[in-house]
Symmetry: C2
Subunit: 442 residues, 2 copies
């Protein structure tokens, strides 16, 4: 399916006007970046890179699409002809998926003709703003959950296609499974789930319902035990499995207290290996509050898919430099809007993660021109994603997941505190020759 | 495209277990409803009904889907056979699109066999939870904007497919246009847009950029005037159009003050019919604060597509009654989970909007059994949407938009206040014979 209409109207009116003015092919550099982190957050997580690369490949204007744009008066003849021939032929660099980011981090750099690069604005922002918001929340949850698995089960609380993307972003940030079957099919993410309260209510008794579930799914299944009376449900489940029940799920009540009672009961009944999964309106703070409780896994829904208070990242996509011809080797002029409240910095950026002793990250180094060379241990953060229109940065999703765990582990310990705070790394802005200067977003 | 995998894993494990237990066909009634409104909100808006009906029609398990479910061990032979034959053959009633709702409103009632009805849970919740959240925020914005048009331009701040649904929900709640081209193609919503700051920065001068835009889009276009100096930009735009410029757009600064200066300048230059559009991080409160400023239209982005603080509605989908056979005429047992913190009410509901003198709404009347008959002016809120598996409730989107304006106009004046408050209508719970009882969600 084409992604070309997942686009703001004005992207195409700009193409039309630039074509008529002869400026559509001017070599241009756009950057996608956050001016700041959401209030109180200490780091962000890059997700959606793989989805963005697919969207770029599928950004084509088929005949039906062009007909629509002509009927609506969006495209004139020249624009229609240009769109019919369109595919992105430029270059894209970006932070690899799973990497962490900070205020000003140039997450994506797009180089090409103005028109071919500007039309990608909306869909790239949509993907990054959503997926990074979910991954950033998810990472806080998996960090505080530690060794205990987090399961994504928020599909019902967000738009049905956003749910698939949310499951993917959560997986990148360390979730171990999702309830979303399309995310399983599309991205290979492990899926999980057993039964809702309705299944218990369907049957003549809770015992009948449990017996039906155990017969179909086996003793290692998870029984939902809070439809009627938790204690009785657990006794029934343990009895029906002769103590070999896989897990119980608690979806209501004062979870730390209930979990302790349930553990004691299970152990008393000899079901010492039966796990306890909790699922009621969890977020990173509730997960932290359960750290001392005998809980074996967390199912997270609403808070995850709504970014735990920050459902979007506020990324922008700005023209930062442009030439006066299509020549990618021609001189580029840094450009930026003059504004007191919405700053961007002209000129194509580099970005480095500066690592100190023992490999602990110390700063996000961003600048214009050539990156500094010297005695610092700096990891370049921008990798090639598209070269001459060909995707070169595709990778298995597991690579992003592993990268996230590595990059998060490099951060100073403060980064993983749940309390509101400043970004865990300072963003150091360098001019072309290496001298530090004021943070333009500060 | 099938919608059948936009589903939680456990919906299908319940089907599997119920098939094996012989309970899958038990006649069942599910209801989708809010336990409460988001904190401080005075009413909610129903949106997504048309999308939900399409999702039900397209909820089919094709061979590829079934193969995936078998490979993953989600479906066994019997389940695979049942899924291959699946299409929803039951009945659905619901609040019509655009209607308003209150705590407990049974927005959707689904009747059918347990398995055929439970598998719709996730996708229905996804659609309603998202679309109603957007429409509920949008309605507050259009209410406070009054006669001034609101334009939806939030695509870049939400997932790319959620953006299309958000544009649709905003249109239902009174927005006049969207920037989202796919919403224009798919739903016929008017689209609009002209240029971003990048278009000005692309050109050698602001004058060149404006001239290019005017040449392509005509004098009635909207020029973005805050890339460099607002006053100079306006003088240029007015000069290039001999005072016939359609509109200017302001995207930064202290908008009430800037709008006044801009209006004075335009009028002084003779451009008395040039409109002023503002677009910088607007929400319902900022729109209210601009009521006294000379502004002609509002472009709303982030706050709209994130539900202005409430990105999801928290709707649930609960089994409320079930039989012991597939017979829809057989006796039904009301069922409900026993819980102190997550209440639902057993039994199939009716719902009425009680109207008082001058047609002002007085209460949301919800109950079990036969609705009361008498001297009240009650409008039934549940209309047939699907009968025996056939969609009967489809309607043009404009009908939903008109209904919303009518239903909102019926509400007490308090409903449209921006401040946090209680629901504008009390939910009155009736037993089957008409006697009022305690609000179970109160």
């Amino acid at each position: 399916m084409t992604t070309a209409l997942l686009t703001d109207h004005y992207e195409l009116t700009m193409v039309r006007a630039a074509l008529a003015a002869g400026t559509a092919d001017r070599h241009s550099v756009f950057e996608l970046f956050p001016r700041r982190l959401p209030e109180g957050r200490r780091y962000g997580v890059v997700a959606g890179v793989g989805r963005a690369l697919e969207a770029i490949e599928r950004f084509r204007f088929d005949a039906e699409t062009i007909d629509f744009l002509r009927e609506r008066g969006v495209a004139d003849d020249a624009t229609a002809e240009w769109l019919a021939d369109y595919r992105f032929r430029g270059d894209v660099w970006g932070y690899p998926e799973g990497e962490v980011f900070f205020p000003g981090s140039p997450l994506v750099v797009v180089e090409g003709g103005f028109a071919e690069a500007v039309v990608l604005e909306t869909v790239l922002l949509s993907i990054y703003n959503h997926d990074c918001a979910i991954a950033s929340a998810a990472s806080r949850m998996t960090a505080v959950a530690g060794e205990r698995p987090c399961i994504e089960m928020g599909s019902r609380r967000t738009q049905e296609r956003a749910a698939v993307a949310a499951a993917r972003a959560a997986w990148v940030a360390g979730f171990t499974a999702t309830s979303n079957l399309e995310a399983g099919r599309r991205w290979g993410i492990p899926t999980t789930g057993t039964a809702a309260h309705s299944f218990t209510l369907l049957h003549d008794s809770e015992r009948d319902a449990f017996a039906a579930q155990l017969a179909a799914l086996g003793e290692d299944t998870t029984l939902l035990v809070d439809t009627y009376d938790v204690e009785q449900a657990i006794r029934t489940g343990v009895e029906l499995t002769s103590g070999r029940l896989g897990a119980v799920r608690l979806d209501s009540g004062d979870l730390p207290a209930v979990a302790r009672d349930v553990r004691r009961l299970l152990d008393g009944l000899g079901a010492t290996s039966t796990r306890i999964i909790v699922t009621s309106d969890l977020d990173e703070w509730n997960i932290a509050a359960l750290a001392g409780a005998p809980v074996d896994g967390y199912g997270v829904g609403t808070a995850l898919v709504t970014g735990s208070g920050h459902p979007t990242c506020g990324f922008v996509y700005k023209l930062v430099a442009r030439g006066t011809s299509p020549d990618p080797e021609g001189p580029l002029t840094p450009v930026a809007k003059r504004s007191t409240d919405k700053i961007s910095v002209g000129g194509r950026k580099f970005a480095l993660r500066r690592l100190g002793e023992q490999g602990v990250a110390e700063a996000e180094v961003i600048g214009i021109g050539a990156p500094p060379v010297g005695d610092h241990d700096d990891r370049p953060l921008l990798v090639p994603l598209v070269r001459g229109g060909e995707v070169v940065g595709a990778e298995p999703l597991s690579a992003a997941r592993e990268r996230h765990l590595r990059s998060r582990a490099e951060l100073p310990l403060d980064a993983l505190r749940m309390s509101h705070g400043e970004p865990a790394l300072e963003t150091v802005w360098l001019g072309g020759t290496g001298e530090a200067r004021r943070n333009p977003f500060g």
